[in-house]
């Protein structure tokens, strides 16, 4: 059953068409990847799902709900969480506080309850903390729990951002280049985590990624974009050997080298 459905989505910036008549659907429980050269419009698709941009045409539906009727901050409440390409963490807060912000959509206490710290709030805070600790255990962040973000290395920030997205307990997780800038070991970890996120937590994953090695290992289906339009869709192997994809990446002359491209970083 499809969880997220884009239908004929088009977005223009001034005269430039960033995304052109794109339709795709992500099924519940699968890991789906968007690939394509830089500037193909992958992150733009994410930003439309997050409602930072509004498409000029087309519809985006999540579990039957029309996302275009919602404002950016309401998307998280529907059960969609995301990470960012150039990490957007809350720099002057600790890892723990960052993850607790992820729990924001689960709060129930009112303003007076929070101001006077009375009523439900204490129990609720314990509950939030418990949920966050589960994520911390899952991603092995215990050592960093009380550290400020500002002092953390890049690889750890990447994981913290994933953790913050998981803390919202989403149904759909959008990962914008989860492995960019990570070392080989960190990329390996990321691969197992994505696998576990799908298997153990039952979260559907939609990701943008350049590392075809990672994509072919974790993804069920891949969609290749170029210049904002769909080039090919299918299993990782199918997409990688698709002539149009190879052409978009390497130019026409490289079509004969298809076999070598398999499983390598494109």
């Amino acid at each position: 059953m499809s969880l997220l459905e884009l239908d004929g989505v088009t977005l223009k910036f001034g005269g430039v068409t960033a995304v052109n008549n794109l339709s795709m659907s992500v099924n519940e429980g699968e890991v789906f990847a968007l690939v394509g050269p830089n500037g193909a419009g992958k992150s733009t698709v994410f930003n439309m799902i997050s409602r930072f941009y509004r498409p000029v045409r087309g519809s985006i539906r999540f579990d039957g709900e029309d996302l275009l009727n919602h404002r950016a901050h309401e998307i998280a409440n529907l059960g969609i969480a995301r990470t960012f390409q150039n990490i957007e963490l809350f720099e002057r807060a600790t890892v723990l506080q960052n993850l607790l912000v992820g729990r924001h959509r689960h709060r129930r206490s009112t303003l007076p309850e929070q101001l006077f710290f009375a009523g439900r709030i204490r129990a609720e805070e314990r509950e939030h903390r418990h949920a966050v600790e589960e994520v911390i255990d899952f991603l092995d962040l215990q050592v960093y729990r009380d550290k400020m973000i500002a002092g953390l290395p890049y690889g750890v920030r990447k994981v913290v951002e994933l953790a913050r997205a998981l803390a919202t307990k989403p149904r759909l997780l959008l990962l914008d280049e989860p492995a960019s800038g990570l070392s080989v070991e960190e990329t390996q970890d990321m691969r197992w985590w994505i696998d576990d996120i799908r298997r153990q937590m039952g979260i559907t994953v939609l990701m943008v990624e350049h590392d075809m090695g990672l994509v072919s290992k974790v993804c069920d289906r891949v969609l290749a974009l170029a210049d904002g339009a769909k080039l090919a869709e299918g299993t990782p192997a199918e997409v990688q050997s698709h002539p149009a994809v190879i052409e978009a990446y390497l130019g026409t002359s490289a079509v004969s080298k298809t076999a070598n491209a398999q499983g390598e970083r494109v």
Partner: protein, 359 residues
Amino acid sequence: MRFHFKTSYDQDIRLFPDWWNFSLYVALLLLMLVLPWLIDGFYLGEVTNVLIWAVAGLGLMLLTGQTGQVSLGHSAFMALGCYSCVNFMELGLPFLAAFLLAGIVTGIIGAIIAIPALKLHGVYLAIFTLALAILADDLIVILEPWTGGVNGYFAPVIEIFGIEINRWAAPETWYYLALGTSIFVALLYRNLLRSPLGRAFAAVRDSEISAQAMGVDVARTKTLAFGLSCAFAGLGGALMGLFAGAFNNETFNFLIAIQLLMMIIIGGLGFIHGAFLGAIVIAFLPQFLSILTDNLGSASIPGLETGVFGMILIAFILFEPMGLYGRWLKIRTWLELFPFARRDMFRRQKTYLKTERLR
């Protein structure tokens, strides 16, 4: 070195993380309670002044330190708090009710005024609020029937449960009023910090875009931050005007708002302690300077206070942007880790500036 092992989530949720910390604050509270017996009336008045500035400072701190929104216009809300408190008292409300109601009214009006300012960032917000402060000055003159205009108001007699709060006859009564208010406001502030709204404030401060992605309604959060901040500033303003005895539009000049901002920066942006430390500097600097010029045998130099204040602030921004409390935290960490602290531990992270026009 003191180790701090956590065994329960409650340790991070409670007001005080451990017994040591708790007993420190109890000791401080006891000291503050017996202070009237330790120092004379003049200095007690000065301490009262410190506490009043701290209340207003906490208000601005919530907005600037926690939510990252600069305001150069909090004098307007201090004025609003003061005049509404006096007007409620004239309507026959008892002081305490009028005082709290003034805070609430100021908060609501502050939140409403914030709505058109929601889209403004950084310098634009600073200029917007500065314009508000200047407008407030003129509005006070225009709204003469409620404010007394340039002639101003004489503070009415304040009574709480039959006890008269009088600055001259019984300075300790005023001191306890200011102390009570500052503890009340600091407690609310601390509660906010440990609850979802406080975290949403920090999220909006550090990255609006990812705050939105986490489900934080940025507009609503900023409005709430403005409202609460103005409410606290209103309480501080009411105390300030009533403590001065007489007040007019000049009492809440826009320079007060600028001083308030400077004060919380000297104290340490984003820390409750910072508001109090900054208030100590701002309240005692004039005393200190007059003692200094007296001892040097020179006549008083007009404008010296603001000049020195400006120099202190420049020094802080250049050498210790975290303020007095930030410096104390560094010293404390250094002592706790001795001899393992490294210089680089506190190195500031520098970012290269990119244009805000592409926000």
